[in-house]
Symmetry: C2
Subunit: 145 residues, 2 copies
């Protein structure tokens, strides 16, 4: 950010790192009662939006690959949140589908979102602007890499 005496607080990367950790700490107690972790919750959000996605689709949505998703999805399957089945048309693909239990949790998500929003601050318009700026940054970082 600034050249000379490199300081943690100067670093955009550390700001992101710190904010992400703080967000995770905030979600944890909200998700734990439902037996969910934070990344698992994101998978559910993706599936509530569109059920029956391939692992690759979820990977594209979440910017993750099978080495992360496969074990995570297996744990979610163990927990009775999703079903995993090989596609008929293409045996390479695995389709991930919500169970009724997984679908049911969408109701709880409303309250969880409310809690996070409350913690993040009152000015929602400002938060949306911030989110958009971060998304733009992510896009730039991804094309750079």
């Amino acid at each position: 950010m600034i050249d000379r005496p490199l300081s943690l607080d100067d670093l955009l990367c550390f700001a992101l790192y710190s904010a992400n950790n703080a967000m995770g700490r905030l979600y944890r107690p909200l998700l734990a009662p439902h037996g969910l972790t934070y990344p698992q919750y994101l998978v559910l959000v993706a599936l509530w939006q569109r059920d029956g996605q391939k692992v690759t689709d979820l990977g594209a949505a979440l910017n993750l690959e099978s080495n992360t998703l496969t074990p995570l999805l297996k744990r979610m399957e163990q927990a009775g949140l999703v079903q995993r089945q090989r596609s008929q048309e293409d045996e390479r693909s695995v389709i991930v589908t919500l169970t009724s239990k997984g679908r049911e949790l969408e109701k709880a998500a409303v309250e969880i979102s409310r809690c996070i929003l409350e913690a993040a601050g009152e000015d929602v318009a400002e938060l949306i602007r911030l989110r958009d700026r971060i998304q733009t940054l992510t896009a730039r970082l991804q094309t750079a890499q």
Copy 2:
């Protein structure tokens, strides 16, 4: 963010999660040649700023606790980057000090920061503003928790 059909792209938390992962992916190939991971790099930044910190001090700077830091610092000690020694005044505390090798790496950090900045975009003033907004958010999340 927005109430109805909850979408990944609506979520501030997912924006942070995604940006942080992308940042990590960007740093990895820059740090790997020096045998560093991203969190280890952040520890070095903290120590370049002020050498000889207690584990608790580093934890306060990085928002981490000993359950994360102790193993990480042991790996850095193994790698010859830092030294860990019990404080004389208070045997409970462990002081972490840079080795010459750890100090040496500060030079490389300049080029690494340049690469990241280049990937993040041209408008540095905008990046600083973004960083500040994220820091403000983190502060709010931490007081909420």
